[in-house]
């Protein structure tokens, strides 16, 4: 059922109690295209927040404002490496499922989920060590809100990966020609990764 979306099926189900109705109007699977459009819109939120951040930075007399406690760079750098590496790891799952290797899919997705969880814990650990809070000053607020909003997306990405893992328990749910869920989770994960790279440059390196 995962492979093709059939808009009519829904209307059919509405009247036919039977869930399995013959797909009588085949059109190509549009879900990946839809997801890309969605991610395009999603990236506009980040773009808006990034530009807002850059404006605050440009308008503020000194950035970070004087008296703001220093941040360390090592932990976030390790976190960045973990997240970028996970993007390569998750791609193996895609290769695996295209060879009908569900076991490989499960392995690579599990590793990615663990790496995502480590990233999130690293982020929380960093928060706990910081000597400024959300409302300390504008600098602190932008830091927490931007990283937090991104962290929320990482969390959602981990949830997506776990959902795919859950479904992959059922034999035959994903196959070489029918694995939109895998592709969607992977695409989302890459998106989250790219956003982090920009965020890391903006918040830590600039």
């Amino acid at each position: 059922m995962q492979g093709t979306v059939d808009p009519n099926k829904a209307a059919l189900n509405y009247h036919n109690e039977e869930v399995v109705a013959p797909a009588h109007e085949e059109h190509p699977d549009l879900r990946l295209f839809g997801l890309l459009v969605f991610l395009g819109a999603e990236s506009m939120i980040f773009l808006g927040l990034f530009v807002a951040y850059l404006t605050f930075r440009a308008v503020y007399p000194s950035w970070p404002p004087e008296g703001t406690p220093e941040r360390e760079l090592v932990l976030p750098a390790i976190n960045t490496v973990i997240l970028i590496a996970s993007s390569f790891i998750i791609h193996n799952a895609d290769t695996a499922i295209k060879k009908n290797d569900v076991k490989g899919l499960r392995t690579w997705f599990s590793i990615t989920a663990i790496m995502g969880a480590v990233f999130l814990m690293g982020q929380l650990y960093e928060y706990s060590k910081l000597e400024f809070g959300l409302t300390t000053n504008l600098y602190a607020s932008t830091f927490y809100v931007l990283t937090g909003f991104h962290g929320l997306h990482v969390f959602l990405g981990v949830c997506l990966i776990l959902a795919v893992l859950w479904r992959a328990q059922k034999a035959g749910h994903y196959s070489d020609h029918d694995h939109f869920g895998v592709e969607a989770a992977e695409l989302y994960w890459h998106f989250v990764d790219v956003v982090w790279i920009v965020l890391f440059i903006l918040l830590y390196l600039l």
């Binding site: 808009p7 036919n16 059109h27 969605f38 819109a41 939120i45 980040f46 808006g48 807002a52």
Partner: protein, 557 residues
């Protein structure tokens, strides 16, 4: 391929299944149900927004603040603006798009029906929360909700306002994904993009704007919510924040929002005029592409709302020029429409009256738009009633007239019943008079310096304000014949044939109302969408000898 598959499924239960009235109250994934759900829900909120507007005009009938308290007045104008924009015009446009796009391009439904239903069902909670806020602690900072004002007028009301907008915005984005993917990917194989009805072109442009603009508004609202509820100071100058950043983010969406509100109706007008003037549309490609140009330009004009916000001179110049350039693609459309009806065999029915009224009134709003784009003039009338007049000529004269025209035009298709023309014409006359009487005097009031958003005013403005108030009452009354007409015709109106207007676009080539899966057999295009009077019999329909536009389902004609 399709035909074969169709044959297999035809005998099963769905083919002759019928819509029941209660389907309209459920999470139904049929785009036609969703379209009507949007339209009816939007109209419900329009009635509420209209009641608020009537209250505002009643207050303004006298210079003193005597009908409501100034605080209540602030709530009235805030809720009026927010409801009309986010819960009436935008959802109404989404409703028309949902209903029409799949029918026009020969698809059986939208690309993502479940997401479509989700998008609709976000609208009622958003609207109900906003309306209920009036009784709890209503937002008072205007529909623009500029900080720091919006941070000082009460956390509960402003919080509800932000929540409502985030939900409505999400709904709008999900809808736009559907429109974009459906239009680009689900056209019937014989339809190239240049044979697509112009309504679809305008929805393509609208969807693009929603997808680029709305997320930025969401970003602004998230930051505003943190300022309001968590004590940060992104936009709060006392904590070192910058309220101008909010204005930029807000208008980056909210200026395109004007086009999100009017482009769908540009599309509808482009459909309605050729049908009722029995002439091909003039300049198909020019009208189609001008929608895309308007979308693009619409994204780079936002700071013309901020000429008085300390915007540097060079930036003002840039935004003044881009804003004025928008008049070009818009003018192309207007002249295209005029050339379409010029010398046509015009039927003066309700749909056509509203469509022609749309052109007349919208052009006035367009011209004042160019005036406002000029920096010196804008600085003079900023935050006065001139701006109120301008935006109501665009959004009432444009969008609302367009929605009415569309409802009258597609009513037979949507309900299978004809509207009552007499009531429709009364409705038009009242709306046209009421609209101009309400908003025309506001131009002068603005030029004389009457500020907007204030419950009391200088006594010398009294006469013009009273004229506007009378106009508003006429507008309020004008919806009565419409409501009677819509309800009565839906239940008891004369049965409509499949193609009462002898139109050529695909939605008219199926039954009225369309079957659940739209077309028994997928249509094959035999003519362009606007080939009226070109190589056909004089009424514009296909000559009897030609192959039917559809094989199979078109029963009536």
């Amino acid at each position: 391929m399709t035909t074969q598959a169709e044959m297999q499924i035809a005998p099963s239960a769905h083919a002759h299944a019928e819509r029941k009235w209660w389907h309209y109250f459920t999470f139904c994934e049929d785009h036609k149900v969703i379209g009507l759900q949007y339209l009816v829900t939007a109209f419900f909120f329009y009635a509420i927004g209209g009641a608020l507007a009537t209250a505002i005009r009643t207050e303004l009938a006298t210079p003193a603040s005597d009908f409501v308290t100034p605080d209540t007045y602030n709530s009235l104008l805030t809720l009026h603006g927010t409801i009309m924009i986010f819960l009436w015009i935008i959802p109404a446009g989404a409703g028309l798009a949902n209903y029409l796009i799949p029918l026009m391009i020969g698809a059986r439904d939208m690309a993502f029906p479940k997401m479509n239903a989700m998008a609709f069902w976000m609208v009622p909670p958003s609207g109900i929360a906003l309306v209920l806020s009036f009784f709890l602690e209503s937002p008072q900072a205007g529909w623009t909700s500029y900080p720091p004002l919006s941070l000082m007028t009460g956390k509960v009301g402003e919080g509800i306002w932000i929540f409502s907008l985030l939900v409505a915005g999400t709904s709008s984005i999900l809808g736009a994904i559907n429109f974009l993917v459906t239009i680009l990917k689900m056209r019937v194989p014989s339809m190239t993009i240049h044979q697509m009805p112009l309504f679809c072109w305008s929805m393509l442009a609208t969807a693009g704007l929603i997808l680029v603009g709305t997320p930025v508004l969401a970003g602004a609202l998230i930051l505003l919510a943190f300022d309001l509820l968590a004590g940060t100071s992104f936009f709060n100058p006392t904590g070192g924040g910058d309220p101008i950043v909010y204005q930029h983010m807000f208008w980056f969406y909210s200026h395109p929002a004007v086009y999100i509100m009017v482009l769908p109706l540009f599309g509808a007008i482009s459909e309605i005029l050729p049908v009722h003037a029995r002439k091909p549309i003039f300049g198909y490609k020019a009208i189609a592409y001008s929608s895309l140009v308007i979308s693009f330009l619409g994204l780079i004009v936002w700071a013309h709302h901020m000429f008085t916000s300390g915007t540097p001179a060079w930036l003002r110049m840039f935004f003044m020029i881009t804003t004025m350039i928008i008049a070009v693609p818009t003018g192309i459309k207007v002249f295209g429409w005029l050339a379409t009806i010029w010398g046509g065999k015009i039927s003066f029915n309700s749909a056509m009256l509203f469509a022609m009224g749309f052109i007349a009134v919208f052009v006035i709003g367009g011209i004042t738009g160019v005036m406002l784009a000029a920096v010196p003039f804008d600085i003079h009338v900023h935050d006065t009633y001139f701006v109120v007049a301008h935006l109501h000529y665009v959004l009432f004269g444009g969008s609302v007239f367009g929605i009415y025209a569309a409802i009258y035009h597609w009513f037979p298709k949507m309900t299978g019943r004809m509207v009552n023309e007499t009531l429709g014409q009364i409705h038009f006359v009242l709306t046209f008079i009421g609209m101009n009487l309400t908003f025309m005097p506001m131009h002068e009031l603005g030029l004389l310096g009457m500020n907007r958003r204030i419950a009391f005013y200088d006594a010398r403005f009294t006469t013009l304000n009273q004229v506007a108030t009378v106009g508003a009452y006429i507008l309020a009354v004008s919806t009565v014949p419409f409501l009677i007409n819509a309800v009565w015709s839906w239940v008891k109106g004369a049965k409509a044939v499949d193609n009462p207007w002898n139109a050529l676009t695909l939605e008219w080539q199926t039954s009225s109302p369309p079957a659940i899966e739209n077309f028994e057999v997928l249509p094959v295009l035999m003519t362009g969408p606007y080939d009226y009077g070109e190589h056909h019999s004089e009424n514009g329909a296909l000559p009897p000898s030609a192959e039917p536009v559809l094989t199979g389902s078109s029963s009536g004609s």
